[in-house]
Chain length 312, copies 2
């Protein structure tokens, strides 16, 4: 069974870790949101790609929620002396990643190739592919104006309600071109799993790339709920459901968001799941440990096999 | 007395430290070689500017001879994992400097302005000015081909004799444009001191900038010998004198190199100084401590005052 997994940052990365332990490298492609990417200190930063890569390499700072464990911040201390921007913190080891990525991108390599090279360096065997090799910036509109995603989330701590989310592209008129690696993975896929990431800012950017929705319409697609017991496990999702979808923070709201794309839904044990409209599976979806991730991955894959068998 | 001091890296930086303690900020300009500058890891590195700046800020790694004291190398360890170049090592705090410099340069600031901004950040009061705001790469010809200066010195450890030194410029045909700040400092100067740096690769690049030699010809110029007791205090200077000037490593060879530009010479006590052709002063020129640097700076300035009095 070939699986394509759509992921944002932390929550998505934890299930990615479980799937990578459950599936061999040639059976899993991790397709990652790049709408959060930014230039910072002259470097290209890809927060979600890095979170997934570091998580798979067992190098992620689990408690902090971003960057590397056992990290230091010496460069940041000097940037601060010089009056540089310090709202988006980059650790010293982490800088090695951004320095190489930026140098290779400036030399003309695609983000897909750069990501593969970084993964090799960290011994990550599974393919991590960016949704696109082109820039597609997630923009957040608020009552006080429009911000890039990281400005809104990190610098302003998502204090202002998002009234609209849109995507600023290199070519404003066109859709973002999906990376060829993502389209090839979808063409070879038997199953798509949407991770427990924020639908508006982590998954919608991926779905918005050329050819992705069309391919998903032909494939069995299972979403894992990012909403548990009436709230988001992490981040501003609950408030975004209220302001953007006029919906409560429920699994049903997530299922409604993805609509006809879904063929199955995995939510938290005890939560009301969208069983009226979709095959559902209840599981323990909070992943505190690596073993939690592996257990959930196996449950999702088992549930998918039953859905695939029913379709066959 | 307004002094302009011409400097390369380590040796030059130590006397710069003494001069900066001996003279108020408005009476001293430190003009620094940028022929060694390079792009590395996508960052603009200015080894001599940084050595002078870190030395004046009392942050230099005195024993190591480059970079910052109490430095860490976490980014380097990740660059190494990714197969990036590791022959030119950059520390983590140091990266803060290069990141900000590169970002500001890419945004269109001049190297002069960038250097002033970095100096403010580190509390360096005296003006450190690059010889030029344009690129001028010191190239080393050897029997095995031509290399950039840092490749030859750091990567190949200067194992191959230099058969010729030349300067690769943005406009090959033209001379390197001196920075306006250097020319303005020379126009206001009463004295020029050439530091105990390598004449071929640290001072000649400065002298080669437009308008510098002409101004020096009108000013009293004193050189401090980088040759002590028949050898260079540091670096490949002794062998360069042999291969490039067919000369022994003597103070006389240094005086001959600068020729008619000089009006005075400071060399090591006990060494044969070029007294037949120049006013000379013997001093302890090895600077192991900050107090050594201050003492030598005061001796150089005292010697200069006697020369200026004799000219008046």
């Amino acid at each position: 069974m070939n699986v394509v997994y759509l992921s944002g940052g932390v929550g998505g990365a934890r299930l990615a870790h479980g799937l990578a332990r459950a599936l061999p490298a040639n059976a899993l492609t991790l397709a990652v949101n790049t709408g959060d990417d930014l230039w910072h200190w002259g470097l290209r930063i890809c927060p979600d790609l890095d979170t997934v890569m570091y998580t798979l390499a067992d190098l992620a700072a689990v408690e902090r929620g971003w960057g590397l464990h056992e990290e230091t911040f010496a460069a940041l201390s000097f940037v601060s002396r010089y009056g540089g921007e310090t709202w988006f913190q980059l650790g010293d080891h982490d800088l090695g990643t951004h320095l190489m990525r930026s140098e290779w991108l400036r030399a003309g390599a695609s983000l897909t190739d750069v990501t593969a090279r970084l993964c090799r360096g960290l011994g990550v065997a599974h393919a991590i592919v960016p949704m696109s090799d082109s820039a597609c910036e997630t923009m957040i509109e608020t009552a006080a104006g429009t911000r890039t995603f990281q400005r809104w989330l990190v610098q302003e701590r998502a204090q202002l309600d998002a009234t609209r989310v849109w995507f600023r592209r290199e070519n404003e008129a066109a859709q973002t071109a999906a990376s060829p690696s993502l389209l090839a993975a979808l063409d070879a896929a038997d199953l798509v799993v949407i991770g427990p990431s924020n639908p508006f800012v982590s998954i919608d950017p991926i779905l918005g790339c050329t050819g992705v929705r069309e391919r998903l319409a032909r494939l069995p697609v299972i979403a894992v709920s990012p909403i548990v017991r009436g709230g988001a496990v992490k981040g501003p999702l609950a408030r975004m459901l209220a302001t953007l979808s006029q919906a409560e923070a429920t699994p049903q709201a997530i299922a409604d968001h993805y609509g006809a794309l879904l063929n199955g839904f995995v939510g938290e044990v005890g939560d009301a799941l969208p069983e009226a409209t979709l095959p559902c599976h209840a599981a323990q979806t909070i992943m505190a440990t690596r073993d939690d991730s592996l257990r959930l991955a196996r449950e999702v894959l088992g549930f998918a096999e039953r859905i695939l068998a029913a379709r066959a």
